[in-house]
């Protein structure tokens, strides 16, 4: 282990020990009251494949604990399963994975455990501020961040060069100019695609200081007219109007893979986790892609936003909470973290973002660029204060419906779409018992 990392690990253990005042077993870092004599099986639901890397190390520390990592479905599938299990009163896992935006949905009705009872607040400063902000609801931590997705610009430098763009765009104005040049290449060439991708739009709004959602307990305020939001919306409207963005390709579809592969989609504004999956989607473009920070609204600024990322929480109905927290802390913050990073996880832990080995990682797909330097910087620049409305899962589906006429047939404007979305959300949220305006 690198010195800095070791220091961080020792500090964590020391903190835990000091906090609980327990000297515990000889080898195991002490979590308050983690049973070490009775056999325990921890059930962990995670579609993140790197979590299982941390299991062997943990099981060695706690020989009486067996950890079962199961993929109980991705995203909505898992949330449904969790709700079903809670309703049925059986089969609730000890740890479950959540995308950041879905945490409020479970936290607010009390389905998750407040982790401050295990001392989670003491490790808050080990994370990028925005990441910790994501897991804090009503001032309490309900999860630990397990991976992170600062938005960055992934660009195919060969295609941009062909279009006459030699430097990656540093501002959105430059991006606009570059978009025109790429379009001029003719055929199906576009600088990027957007088929009503709400995360893309929100990441632009977020970066520019827009805060359309304000959540306070069960009060939600939605407003798409603040300065940061309006600027982003007008910008993107122009991109749509001038046919600078491919609206006929959906992200994560076969067409999208092929577009990236052959270069007809030149860039992606997407989360850092894209580094592990882009190479398999665009093998023919190996060596051509590079990563740059997100273009800024004003030259010289260093703002950022997120596009995805997830955290791990302990359901309120879980049976073995102490043991669960021990493992949770282990693989998101403690000794188990490195094995996950080695397996490709991108985490918002400052210890990692400052780690030299991490920063020196290169990959020939990205032309041996030290891309983690860009991504670490981007992580630290993520603007704080962002909130998702608690019913975002529903809102997301509703957005697809509401934006269809615009993207399918060019009817209406993006601002109109957002206004309709706001009205629908107000209706839905109030029906659901929130106070939304």
């Amino acid at each position: 282990m690198k010195k800095r990392h070791l220091a961080a690990a020792v500090a964590t253990v020391a903190t835990l020990v000091a906090l609980t005042g327990c000297t515990g077993g000889s080898d195991a870092p002490s979590g308050a009251g983690v049973p070490t004599d009775t056999p325990i099986t921890l059930k962990v639901w995670s579609w993140d494949g790197t979590v299982k890397e941390a299991v062997p190390g943990f099981e060695k520390l706690y020989p009486n604990i067996t950890v079962d990592v199961i993929n109980a479905g991705s995203s909505t599938d898992e949330y449904t399963a969790l709700d079903n299990a809670i309703q049925a009163g059986s089969g609730v896992p000890d740890i479950a994975m959540f995308e950041y935006f879905s945490l409020p949905l479970f936290a607010i009705p009390g389905k998750l455990t407040d982790l401050s009872e295990f001392g989670a607040e003491d490790i808050a400063s080990d994370y990028v501020d925005a990441a910790w902000g994501n897991v804090t609801i009503d001032g309490k931590p309900y999860a630990l961040p397990s991976d992170y997705g600062p938005a960055a610009l992934f660009y195919n430098q060969a295609v941009l060069a062909e279009a006459g763009v030699t430097e990656p765009p540093a501002t959105w104005d430059e991006f606009y100019e570059a978009a025109k040049k790429v379009r001029a290449l003719g055929g199906d060439h576009y600088i990027t695609n957007d088929s009503a991708d709400i995360f893309l739009l929100l990441s632009l709004i977020w970066e520019g200081g827009g805060r359309p959602f304000t959540v306070d307990g069960s009060n939600v305020k939605i407003d798409f007219t603040d300065a940061g939001t309006t600027r982003a919306v007008e910008y993107w409207q122009r991109m749509l109007d001038e046919d600078l963005v491919n609206t006929k390709v959906t992200g994560w579809s076969d067409d999208w893979n092929r577009g990236l592969n052959e270069g007809t989609i030149a860039t992606q504004i997407i989360g850092s986790w894209f580094t592990s999956t882009l190479p398999e989607r665009a093998p023919d473009a190996a060596g051509d892609f590079r990563i740059a920070p997100l273009p800024q609204w004003e030259a010289g600024e260093t703002s950022g936003s997120e596009n995805g990322g997830s955290a791990m929480a302990i359901p309120a109905d879980a049976k073995n909470k102490e043991a669960a927290y021990a493992f949770l802390e282990y693989f998101t913050h403690g000794d188990g973290l490195q094995s996950r990073i080695d397996a490709g996880a991108f985490v918002p832990n400052l210890s990692n973002l400052d780690d030299e080995t991490f920063l020196g990682t290169t990959n020939e797909f990205f032309g041996d660029q030290k891309y983690n330097e860009v991504l670490a910087e981007s992580s630290k620049n993520v603007a704080t204060g962002w909130q998702y409305p608690p019913f975002f899962g529903w809102a997301r589906t509703s957005y697809e419906d509401v934006s269809a006429p615009l993207y399918n047939s060019g009817k209406g404007t993006l601002a109109d779409v957002l206004e309709t979305w706001k009205q629908r959300s107000i209706e839905y949220g109030n029906e659901q018992g929130f106070t939304v305006e």
Partner: protein, 299 residues
């Protein structure tokens, strides 16, 4: 008697009823439909032979640079510590038990509907139709809760028990039984003193061979392809049937995040799962050819 009629037939036509003249036009027309059926499957076979890289970069109906079928098959069986084989075994279990039991229950029930009267027959039919008119989606959670009360969620029973009900099979057996089993036979057997179940087993059932085989085959396929309810009921990959497992592999690459893109494995796995169905179909085919009822209705 048969030979007499075919002799007669031979005087008016060159060909017999059992072996008529083949029509090229008809074959061509049917062939067009067969093409419609086969084309997507040709796609499946071609793409199962491509590596992931080739899949992304080549045209759908052309072969890739590198013939990777064997590699893909090996990978399918070794990916995620060989869970595919387990899924295959699970599916076989669900299908064999489910198809046999559901077909048997449908046959029993169909026979009752066709040949017996019982109280509430009409209500029963109405209720059956009404129940299957309810979209399964809406029932999934109540069914889950019910099974959870009994503690059988996340076990094979959660998949098997719902599969024992085959309303379509019931209706089919009803219709076929009404058509293929003459009352007179049953009557005769009763006069001879045979018990009801024996009549069903020895007289009606053999006559229903094509129907039973059809229902069995359909049941086989539909349980094999069962997706939604098992998805809700099972949370342990060790008990997944193939459909859920393959779907999960597919979702790895098609949801936002850093899941692996293994379309080549998804396609190869799909091809592999079709093979047992084809084999089942081919081996059950001959039941359609048996001359039915013929021997039974003798004066």
């Amino acid at each position: 008697m048969s030979s007499t009629s075919s002799t007669v037939a031979r005087r008016t036509r060159v060909y017999t009823l059992a072996n008529p003249r083949k029509s090229t036009t008809l074959t061509l027309l049917t062939g067009l439909f067969a093409l419609y059926c086969l084309l997507p499957m040709v796609w499946l076979v071609i793409n199962a032979s491509k590596s992931q890289q080739d899949f992304v970069s080549s045209f759908g109906l052309a072969f890739g640079d590198h013939f990777a079928l064997w590699d893909n098959v090996v990978q399918v069986f070794t990916f995620q510590e060989g869970i595919f084989a387990r899924w295959l075994l699970n599916t076989v279990l669900y299908v064999v038990v489910g198809a046999l039991v559901s077909t048997f229950l449908a046959a029993l029930g169909g026979y009752a509907l066709a040949k017996h009267d019982f109280i509430g027959k009409r209500v029963f039919l109405l209720v059956v139709l009404g129940s299957i008119s309810v979209p399964g989606i809406a029932l999934a959670i109540p069914q889950f809760l019910l099974f959870a009360q009994l503690g059988i969620t996340n076990t094979p029973w959660a998949v098997l028990i719902p599969s024992f009900i085959n309303p379509f099979g019931l209706y089919l057996m009803w219709v076929f039984t009404a058509q293929a089993v003459p009352d007179g036979l049953i009557e005769a057997a009763r006069i001879d003193g045979a018990g009801e179940f024996r009549i069903f087993r020895q007289i009606a059932f053999p006559l229903l061979a094509p129907a039973t085989v059809t229902v069995l085959l359909f049941s086989f396929v539909s349980i094999w392809n069962n997706y939604f309810l098992p998805l809700i009921m099972l949370k342990d990959p060790a008990w997944y049937p193939l459909t859920i497992g393959i779907n999960q592999w597919n979702k790895l690459g098609s949801t936002a995040g850093n899941g692996e893109l293994i379309q080549n494995l998804v396609i190869t796995a799909s091809l592999l799962t079709i093979i047992p169905l084809v084999i089942a179909f081919l081996s059950l085919q001959r039941y359609w050819q048996s001359g039915l009822a013929l021997g039974a209705i003798k004066d």
